[in-house]
């Protein structure tokens, strides 16, 4: 345990829910007693059904919100706020539209207090690392989605955090761009040796990127299982996604997620009627009840699921 770079130690987080016409104010538990360790230099992927608190996990780690219970440790020290030892890459890039690509990379360096004389070299190096050397003077609106996300990654890497937190960073990109950025991220990770925590809802993406994949349950989020991904030598095969190992892991995660996705859907259906009246416990009870009810009865899977299984 002491060797963990990051440790979620029985972390819980609940959000207050404001009163509506149909129900009283209460609280929704997003994360419940999550315990999860990340080793130094590891690429850990967190997957879970939508609304399971994946992003909350990342906000807690980033120090943007405090946990309701338990603590998040980085290098054995509890997280008390945001810090430059952790860099966050957001799904919607979060680039400053009035700054060029180089200016955006400079932003993180300014935040860190890197002397002006050293900035130019770091900016050039990191733009080069993400393959955007020729685009230093372009404004975000002149760049494609994939390029924007590259700039955002360069910005986070430039101030040299130990940990890179990525919140569904490729979810808004088209399939080809996503594939190439995934490959590049693995390459950058191998070159920089950063510890990466990557949030996604894509099973393929999780298997492709992660050394380990943590599967979360639907609300309230708990760690259902952590799976070690072993794809052999990635460089040995041309298309890693078509290997048996890849398919095996993919099915493994899909099976784990299937029940959770159903539970989440059941909870959404129930949320309208039951959750609204039960108040404080409402956010949680139907989810669990729904999950238990459905687990024993395998219903017909939708086309996407049928194809995957």
């Amino acid at each position: 345990m002491s060797t963990d770079k990051i440790l979620f130690d029985r972390v819980s987080k609940s959000f207050p829910v404001r009163a509506t016409r149909r129900g009283t104010a209460g609280a929704v538990t997003a994360l419940d007693q999550v315990t999860l360790g990340v080793r130094p230099g590891e690429f850990l992927v967190v997957v879970g059904p939508s609304g399971c608190g994946k992003s909350t996990l990342l906000d807690l780690l980033g120090g943007l919100i405090p946990p309701t219970g338990g603590q998040v440790l980085v290098d054995g020290r509890p997280v008390t706020g945001p810090g430059l030892d952790r860099g966050i890459v957001f799904q919607q890039y979060a680039l400053l539209p009035w700054r060029t690509a180089a200016g955006n990379v400079a932003f993180g360096l300014e935040a860190k207090g890197v002397p002006r004389s050293e900035r130019a070299e770091k900016i050039a190096h990191h733009l080069d690392l993400v393959g955007l050397s020729g685009f230093a003077d372009r404004y975000p609106h002149e760049l494609s989605g994939g390029m924007k996300q590259r700039v955002a990654i360069a910005r986070s890497l430039a101030y040299d955090p130990d940990v890179l937190l990525m919140d569904e960073p490729f979810a808004a990109l088209d399939a080809q761009t996503r594939d190439s950025l995934q490959d590049e991220l693995v390459r950058i990770w191998a070159r920089t040796g950063k510890t990466i925590v990557f949030i996604t809802h894509g099973i393929d993406e999780a298997v492709h990127l992660g050394q380990r994949v943590a599967v979360l349950t639907s609300r309230p989020g708990r760690v259902k299982q952590v799976i070690d991904i072993d794809l052999g030598d990635r460089d040995a095969v041309e298309d890693v996604r078509s290997t048996d190992a890849f398919r095996h892991h993919r099915h493994q995660i899909w099976t784990l997620l299937r029940d959770e996705v159903r539970a989440a859907q059941a909870a959404e259906g129930a949320a309208g009627s039951r959750a609204a009246h039960t108040g404080a416990a409402g956010g949680r009870t139907p989810a669990v009840a729904g999950a238990d009810a459905r687990r024993g009865t395998p219903t017909a899977a939708d086309p996407e699921e049928a194809r995957v299984g």
Partner: protein
């Protein structure tokens, strides 16, 4: 009052854009000149028609030429005013007042707006007051300003300051509040403190919205001032128009009116250009 001011400024903004955008598209030099000529013609037709009607209608006796002299007579009177130096005196007096008021409004309303936009408690405290004042026509308060500050320059500049403060203040508040929360989250994740967050994210993000406020205020400054000068002044364009009417110097009155619209147009164009200069990234985003 608000409507009268806002209409011309809103019209002026989009008309300026096609010029800049369309120009590079035209092919050869001849084609470009023809295109330019056609556009100039197209855009000046309405103005030329107005001038023609103004010139012809009084001559044909369609309107009383005592009350609406032909445009050419008005222009002769305008030229006389310009040569005698009277026009320069009035324009100088008016511009000094409106620029002083506008400048003071920029200096006070922008910092105040930034504070109100940033500190929620202050916003909650002041917003009822702001609602009351911004819905009170500035000119309705003119007598109050005259009573308290007298008939001199102070009351006029104060009235301009008052009228100009609202668009600047409200736009600044809106600009600060409208900053993309994701940018704030991202900057916070890098450990920026409040001051630097404000300096590096909030302020640059709000600049275009603030400038829209300044542009509106520019139009307000002239409108309100002219009205104020009609009430009690010894110089200024409002005074010129009013005084000329009292003395039945009708061409002089129209000269004053023409000058006022010309200044309004020029001020607005300057502020539009300045606004565009400060918000290239936003204009491009909305276009693309």
């Amino acid at each position: 009052m608000v409507d009268i001011v806002e209409r011309p400024t809103r019209l002026a903004a989009p008309t300026a854009v096609p010029d800049a955008v369309a120009a590079p598209e035209a092919p050869g030099l001849t084609g470009r000149l023809l295109g330019l000529g056609a556009r100039v013609l197209h855009r000046s037709v309405a103005i030329v028609a107005l001038a023609a009607v103004w010139e012809v209608a009084p001559r044909l006796g369609l309107v009383d030429r005592v009350f609406l002299p032909p445009l050419s007579e008005v222009l002769v009177a305008w030229w006389e005013l310009l040569r005698s130096g009277q026009l320069a005196e009035h324009v100088g007096a008016s511009l000094t007042r409106s620029l002083a008021g506008l400048g003071l409004a920029v200096l006070t309303a922008i910092p105040l707006g930034l504070l109100i936009g940033w500190y929620r408690p202050l916003a909650e405290l002041l917003s009822p007051l702001l609602e009351v004042f911004r819905n009170t026509a500035a000119l309705a308060l003119l007598p109050v300003f005259v009573l308290i500050l007298g008939l001199g320059e102070t009351s006029k500049i104060a009235l301009v300051l008052y009228a100009c403060s609202w668009p600047i203040l409200l736009n600044t508040i809106a600009g600060v509040k409208g900053v993309d929360p994701l940018l704030i989250r991202s900057a916070r994740s890098m450990g920026l403190n409040h001051l630097r967050l404000f300096q590096k994210v909030i302020l640059p993000a709000a600049v275009p919205t603030i400038f829209t406020g300044v542009r509106l205020a520019g139009a307000y400054s002239i409108l309100v001032l002219v009205a104020a000068e009609m009430v009690g002044a010894k110089a200024g364009l409002g005074y010129l128009v009013n005084y000329a009417q009292y003395n039945f110097a009708i061409p002089d009155m129209y000269s004053g009116i023409i000058t006022i619209s010309a200044i309004g147009l020029v001020v607005n164009q300057l502020l539009v250009a300045l606004e565009r200069r400060f918000s290239t990234w936003r204009v491009d985003v909305s276009a693309g």
